[in-house]
């Protein structure tokens, strides 16, 4: 009798935490099942407790890979953006999450990789590597990359200048980018607060844009960053006050919105 061939998983000797930390991750039935169950609970929570509403879902591209950018002031932001996608698409949506925060301890890794399907983004020393991961992800048709270009949660709920990494990622590429504005998440669950409050959260999705005609480079990156910052700001429903400031260096076209 011919012996059977067994194709052992090649990461058999790696712990669960290590397997979740690696990216791209392998599809895993239990992780997928857990994610769907967790996100069903989160969706119910968002609709019931935060009276979540979304406007502009029709602007999301139906085919191919694309990028979603939004303002960031709360941990609720990522759930808010994931609510824009059907449950069947959840495993193809990858929110970029800070590697130094979400991919350190086991509970955070389990939450970030297991529930949110996050891409570990090194925002300190390995930015080029992280941008490479993002490009690789987008090269697979159907994947969605979610990025908060402010780099961190805003402490005061005001939208802060975008980092130019988003421009470097998109310049000269065919991937559409969809600007989104999240309203109310800061009031509902601000940075530093332990318990979310029952405040209304709304998501506004803008029209996609493509920067394939721009040549990759610093100048294009700054232009894209500035345009996206304005695009996100313009989606704010209360027409918040814009403040343009000159930071010098790379962040030359940063915009602030002060919400009333």
């Amino acid at each position: 009798m011919e012996p059977w061939e067994y194709h052992c998983a090649d990461d058999l000797d790696r712990s669960l935490a290590d397997r979740l930390r690696q990216f791209p991750r392998r599809p895993d039935m239990l992780v997928y099942g857990g994610r769907l169950a967790a996100m069903a609970l989160v969706r119910t929570w968002m609709r019931a407790y935060h009276r979540f509403r979304v406007t502009g879902c029709e602007n999301l591209p139906r085919e191919g890979s694309f990028v979603v950018v939004a303002n960031h002031s709360s941990h609720l932001d990522v759930f808010t953006l994931l609510m824009a996608f059907p449950m069947t698409k959840l495993h193809r949506v990858f929110p970029a999450a800070a590697q130094d925060y979400f991919f350190v301890s086991l509970p955070r890794v389990a939450f970030a990789a297991g529930v949110v399907n996050a891409l570990p983004f090194d925002r300190q020393v390995g930015i080029k590597h992280s941008l490479g991961l993002c490009t690789g992800l987008l090269s697979n048709p159907g994947n969605v990359l979610v990025i908060f270009p402010e780099g961190t949660r805003s402490l005061d709920g005001v939208m802060h200048p975008f980092k130019p990494g988003i421009g470097l990622l998109l310049a000269g590429t065919p991937y559409p980018v969809v600007p989104c504005y999240i309203e109310g998440a800061h009031d509902a669950w601000a940075k530093g607060k332990w318990i979310p409050r029952p405040r209304r959260v709304r998501l506004f999705i803008g029209t996609p844009r493509v920067y394939s005609e721009l040549k990759p480079g610093k100048q294009s990156a700054l232009q894209i960053t500035s345009e996206l910052e304005d695009a996100v700001a313009s989606l704010a429903p209360n027409g918040g006050t814009k403040q343009t400031r000159q930071d010098g260096g790379e962040e030359t076209a940063s915009t602030k919105i002060e919400r009333k």
Binding site: Y6, C8, A9, M29, L30
Partner: protein, 315 residues
């Protein structure tokens, strides 16, 4: 089983005292050897850290009651099968693995629901016949797919995975329904681990003749016989776990744990050697995977369960 029952159960309290006492004793021993005698305790410390998590978690689930215990052991079986599927390559076949996951969850459910004809917890009739339904489901998958190539191997692995991890281990889950659940469960878990430790210790101290050289070169006849001797003595030492057991049941319990524990260990070694892997997984440093920890228990549980059922019924 319930928190109130646990607080009033002498058996539960004695086992809590024994296990926590052993944890403290082992911690002190490691500390003295490390700092007093400057021994390298890296491996024992890694193993000890695993116990520091596993023992309190297990005691907490048993304390919380029947359903938390069943849920906990069902989850252990699910992740144990996941290790098996990853080691054998079956994990790439989502249909087969999904069917086995469903089967294992089904074992948990039939262990929770009451028998509709008898007023007792757990539906034993359905539990005992459950493999037939799961195997029928596994056999159905290639038919639905209209696929032939490689399906015999996938079916065989799925059936072995379910029967070995889902159903044989499922007897531990079902024991939670017994009127003597604290005694049976805690004795079984404790005795199987003591048997493993005794085999290792006796093998280290006196081992010369290999038990099964092709399967597990480090295991020796001396280790196995030492473990059997310890396991034969344990039912008398811990007789408070099952005060209704007579001499014959105690002897059979000792034989089941002493011999079954070793056979369970060798069984998983056969699988690992054939797959050319050292451990089934890497759940905890110093322990390998879930199946490396549970191998003896999987083999012993159904034998002990049916011995108890033959002499006393489990209720």
């Amino acid at each position: 089983m319930s928190p109130t029952a646990a607080l009033h159960s002498t058996v539960f309290q004695i086992y809590v005292a024994i296990t926590l006492g052993l944890l403290v004793f082992a911690g002190l021993a490691i500390a003295i050897l490390k700092w007093g005698f400057k021994k390298d305790m890296t491996h024992p410390w890694a193993s000890y850290r695993g116990w520091l998590i596993m023992i309190p978690l297990l005691l907490l689930c048993i304390f919380l009651g029947r359903i938390p215990t069943i849920v906990f052991f069902t989850a252990v079986a699910v992740f144990g099968f996941k290790e098996f599927a990853r080691a054998t390559g079956l994990y790439e076949d989502w249909g087969m693995t999904g069917a086995v996951y469903l089967g294992i969850i089904g074992v948990g459910i039939v262990s929770v629901v009451p028998n509709p004809r008898l007023d007792v917890p757990g539906w034993y009739g359905l539990f005992s016949i459950f493999p037939a339904y799961v195997i029928a489901l596994i056999l159905l998958i290639p038919i639905l797919r209209n696929r032939v190539k490689g399906q015999l191997q996938a079916i065989a692995l799925a059936v072995v995975g379910f029967v070995y991890i889902g159903w044989m281990f499922g007897h531990v889950i079902f024991l939670s329904n017994s009127t003597h659940a604290y005694g049976y469960l805690m004795y079984l878990l404790f005795a199987v681990e003591v048997n493993d430790v005794a085999a290792y210790t006796c093998g280290k101290a006196f081992g010369k003749h290999p038990l099964r050289s092709e399967i597990s070169p480090k295991k020796t006849w001396e280790g196995a016989l030492g473990a059997l001797a310890v396991s034969m003595a344990l039912p008398w030492v811990l007789h408070f776990s099952f005060p209704h057991f007579g001499v014959l049941e105690c002897i059979l319990t000792g034989l089941i744990v002493g011999i079954g524990g070793q056979l369970g260990d060798l069984s998983i070694s056969v699988i690992k050697r054939d797959l050319h892997i050292k451990d089934m997984g890497a759940l905890m440093s110093g322990h390998g995977g879930i199946l490396d920890r549970l191998d003896s228990l999987i083999y012993v549980a159904p034998l002990f369960f049916h011995m108890v059922r033959f002499f006393h019924d489990i209720y």
